[in-house]
Symmetry: C2
Subunit: 470 residues, 2 copies
C-alpha cells in the first residue's frame, strides 16, 4: 500500500479508550479478527489494527471522535461483500464494524417509506416491506447478505435498475456521522426537498469516505402483483442488442434485461453437463422480465416476445408461474460457480457504456480475447443499462496470462472511456480500480472531489486511500 | 441587503475586459438592463452592475475567469422565473445571462437521452422529444418559459413528480464551469456510474452557487400513449387525503395528484363568475391523472374512481379525450390569476410534509387563518408529494396584515419542521427563504454545506448571499 499522511499510532491507550467507549467485549485486536476484517470479496487488503463494534449512532460518534483525536484511520464496514476493497483498510487503523446497528425502525405504508439502521440486510428489508404489499426495487446479486448501508455507500445496482433505477433513486434521507463525531441528518421523509445541497445523494456512492452512514430512509413503491419472465437466445450479441432496441421502440420497459454471452453459456454447459440452459450455437442469451398489473404484463410480454423474434431469436421461452420463472433464471444463478471451471482466478470488471454501444463493447472484448493468451473473458450483465461484467479468467500461476490480463485490463478501460462509458457501473472504485480513475476524470475533477472530501474529513482519516489516486 | 465579503469594484477596465471576452454588443450597463436582470418572479432584488450574454461555454469560462481575477460577484441566470430570488444579485456585480446557449444538441432515441444547452426552454425540449415518442416528465408550472438549466439549478418539481420524480431523477450528466473558469463534466450517458462522488446530483438544486451549468444530459422514458384525467370533489381536506391513501393502498400511482382547497376554489368561482369549476360546498378538489398503456389506464382509472368514492367524494368526473381533459384541468390553470381577486399581494410558500401528514398541515393552516387578520390563505399543490403551495394574500398597504403575514410565515415554517417536513419542496431558498433555513438545518449541517461551497468557490463570488444565512 502507498504511504498515507502521518497518521497516529494505534497505542494501547487508544485501544483502551475504544473499550471504554463501546465495551471491552466489542473491541478485538486478535489476528483472526484483524485478518477477517482486513479483506472483502476482492480477497485482498491490509489487516486492521483493531476492530470495534459500536452499539448505536452515539457509539459510532464516540469512536470517530477518538479516531480524530488520535489521527487514526477508520474504515466503516457493512457485510464486506464488495468487489473493490472499499470496506478494508489501506493503512491499518480501526475497522468500524456496524453489525449491531441492524434494526428496521419503521415501515410507513401511508408515506411509502421505511427507516432502517445501516446493517439491515437488504434482502431482509425487501421481505419485510413486501409483506405489507410494498417494494424496495434495488437488487444487487449480494442482497441475501449485503446491507442497506453498504448498498448506499456503494450505490448498488442490479438487474432491476433498467426499469427501477439504482439505489440512489430510493434514498430519501440519511443519518450519518462526520469524522469529527458530529451527527448530521440529510433529506427527510419527502421526495421533494430543496433546502440546502443534496447531501443525501452526495453520500450515496461515496464509499464511506465522507461520513459513516448509520440510518437510512428508503422510498418504497407498490409491489407489482404480476411478473412474466422470458428467455430468448440469439446467434450473436448484435442480434440480442437489436432485440433490446426493438423493445425500447415498442415502449416496453422490462424490470430485468440480462445478457449472457456465448463464452459464459459454454462454461455453464460444461459445468452442469447439460445444454438445457444454453442451447448449442447460442452467441447471446437474454433474460427479460416484465412486471405490473396483469393486463399490462400480458401486453408487454407479447411485445417483448415480438421484439426478440423480429431481431432473429432462435428460441423464446415464456414463463408465467413462479416455478417456471425460477427455472429460466437458473442459468443466471449458475454463472458464478460455472465460470470457475474455466480457470481458478477471476478478475471482475464492471464496465458500463451507453446501451446502444454494447455491440462495440463486445467488438472490443473480442479484440482483447484475441490478444490475451491464457485469458478467457466470459461476459454477462445488465444490458438495459449498458452495464456488463467482464470477467478475466486465468491461472495465477501462469505469468504470461497474468501479464496479458494486466494489459487487457488497461485496454478495456481505455476503450470504455472512448465509448463514452464508465469504468464502474455498480461495484465502485475502492482501492482496486484507483489507477484507472484518471482515464475517466480530469485532474480538475479529481482535485475538486478531493476538496469535497476535505470539507467532510479535513484530517483524511475516514477510509483513506479509496476512490481517488493520491 | 447584507454586506458581503470584500468584493472588487466593477470598474470601467473590468467592463472593457468583459466586452473583449464576449463582444461589446453582448454587454450592457444601462439602467433598463440592470433593473430587468435585477429581479425575478419574486419581483425583488438588487440591480446588477453589468449584464453579459456569453455565446458558449468557452465565453462563460472567460467571464468567470475575469470575475475571479477581479473578485466580482457573478450570478448565473436562466429565464428568471424563480420565486425566491435565486437568479438575482444580492451584492450587484455581473449577471451572466445564458440566453445564447439555447440549442438542443442531440436526441438519442436508442439510448433514451437528450443533450441540451442550458437555455433550452423546458417545454420546447419536451415537445422535441415527444415528437419522436419519448418523454421528459418534469413539468414545473413555468415550463413554457423556464429553461432546463434553471430547472436543474432549482431541482424543479411539478404535478408529475409523484409518479415520475423531480428534475434530479432525469439528469444523467452536466457540463459546468467552476468560478475559476475551469470546465468540468459530471456523470455521462449511462444511468449507472459510480466513479467519483455524484457531482451531478450535488449540482442539481445548488441554485447556481457551486458552478455555472452550461450543458445538460437528460434521461428520457417512453412517452405513455394514453391518459385519463379525473376530477373529484370532497367536503373536507381530510376526505381528499383519505382518497389519496386509498389509492396508494389500491397500488395505483397516478401521474398527477393535485389538491385545491376550498378558499382557492372560492377565488376561482368569484373570478370566473361560475360554479362549474368549483361546486358550492366543496372543501377540497382533487385532479388526478393516470397514464400508460390503454389496458393499464382503464384499470387504474377505475381504481382511482373507486378510491375517491370510498373516501366520500361528492362528485367524480372522468375524461378520456384531450378536450374534456383540458376542461377538467382548467380550474388548476385559473388559480394563479383568480387568487389576485382576494388581495393585491401574494406571498408564496412552497412547503412539503410527508403526505400522510397533509391533514395536520391543513389544521395548522386553519390556525394561521384564525390568527392572521387581513390575510387570506388559499392553498393548493401536489398532494401526492405532500408539497402544498401556501399563498398568503394581503394588501401591502395594510400594516396589520403585513405584520400578521410575517408572524404567520414563521409559524408556518416552524410547524412544517415539527411535522417532519421541509420549508421548500421545489421553489428553492434564494435569498427570500434564507432566514428560515436554520429552522430545518443544524449549525453543523450549515457549516458543512458552507465548506462544500468553498470547495467549489473559495472566493465566494458565485451567486453569494443565497441558500445559507451568513
Amino acid at each position: 500500500m502507498a504511504a498515507g499522511p502521518p497518521y497516529g499510532p494505534v497505542t494501547e491507550a487508544f485501544v483502551d479508550a475504544l473499550r471504554l467507549a463501546v465495551g471491552a467485549e466489542h473491541v478485538r485486536t486478535d489476528d483472526e479478527a484483524r485478518a477477517t476484517y482486513g479483506a472483502d470479496a476482492l480477497k485482498k487488503g491490509h489487516p486492521a489494527d483493531v476492530v470495534v463494534w459500536p452499539a448505536d449512532t452515539a457509539e459510532v460518534a464516540a469512536v470517530l471522535r477518538l479516531c480524530t483525536a488520535h489521527r487514526v484511520p477508520v474504515v466503516p464496514r457493512g457485510a464486506g461483500t464488495g468487489y473493490t476493497g472499499g470496506a478494508v483498510p489501506s493503512f491499518g487503523g480501526v475497522v468500524l464494524a456496524l453489525q449491531r446497528l441492524d434494526r428496521i425502525l419503521e415501515i410507513d405504508e401511508r408515506n411509502l417509506l421505511a427507516v432502517a439502521e445501516c446493517h439491515v440486510v437488504t434482502g431482509d428489508l425487501q421481505r419485510a416491506v413486501e409483506a405489507v404489499g410494498l417494494f424496495y426495487p434495488p437488487d444487487p446479486a449480494s442482497l441475501p447478505t449485503s446491507t442497506i448501508g453498504g448498498n448506499v455507500a456503494e450505490c448498488a445496482g442490479g438487474p432491476r435498475a433498467f426499469k427501477y433505477g439504482v439505489t440512489k433513486r430510493y434514498i430519501l434521507g440519511l443519518e450519518a456521522v462526520l469524522p469529527s463525531g458530529e451527527i448530521i441528518h440529510t433529506g427527510g421523509k419527502s421526495v421533494k426537498n430543496v433546502v440546502g445541497y443534496d447531501l443525501t445523494q452526495l453520500l450515496v456512492g461515496s464509499e464511506g469516505t465522507l461520513a459513516v452512514i448509520t440510518r437510512v430512509t428508503v422510498r418504497l413503491v407498490p409491489l407489482p402483483p404480476t411478473q412474466v419472465t422470458l428467455r430468448a437466445t440469439f446467434t450473436t450479441i448484435r442480434a440480442a442488442v437489436d432485440a433490446v432496441t426493438n423493445l425500447i421502440r415498442a415502449r416496453v420497459v422490462p424490470s430485468a434485461l440480462e445478457l449472457i454471452d456465448g463464452d459464459s453459456l459454454e462454461a455453464v454447459a460444461t459445468n452442469l453437463g447439460t445444454r438445457a440452459l444454453a442451447p448449442e450455437g447460442t452467441g447471446a442469451l437474454l433474460l427479460l422480465e416484465v412486471d405490473g398489473l396483469p393486463e399490462t404484463v400480458a401486453e408487454e410480454g407479447r411485445r417483448v416476445e415480438q421484439a426478440c423474434r423480429e431481431a432473429g431469436a432462435t428460441e423464446v421461452l415464456v414463463a408465467h408461474d413462479q416455478a417456471t420463472r425460477e427455472e429460466l433464471w437458473r442459468v443466471r444463478r449458475a454463472l458464478s460457480l460455472s465460470l470457475r471451471v474455466l480457470a481458478p482466478m477471476k478478475v471482475n470488471h464492471d464496465v458500463v457504456v451507453p446501451k446502444g454501444r454494447v455491440p462495440e463493447l463486445f467488438d472490443l472484448i473480442d479484440r482483447l480475447r484475441a490478444a490475451s493468451p491464457g485469458v478467457r473473458i466470459p461476459c454477462f450483465g445488465h444490458v438495459g443499462d449498458g452495464n456488463i461484467h467482464v470477467n478475466m479468467m486465468l491461472d495465477p500461476a501462469d505469468p504470461v496470462a497474468l501479464e496479458a490480463a494486466r494489459v487487457a485490463e488497461r485496454a478495456l478501460f481505455e476503450g470504455i472511456v472512448a465509448l463514452e462509458g464508465s469504468i464502474s457501473g455498480e461495484h465502485g472504485i475502492g482501492f482496486s480500480k484507483l489507477p484507472f480513475v484518471p482515464l475517466e476524470l480530469s485532474r480538475i475533477e479529481i482535485d475538486l472531489q478531493r476538496r469535497i472530501k476535505a470539507a467532510f474529513d479535513p484530517l483524511n482519516i475516514l477510509n483513506p486511500g479509496k476512490m481517488f489516486p493520491e
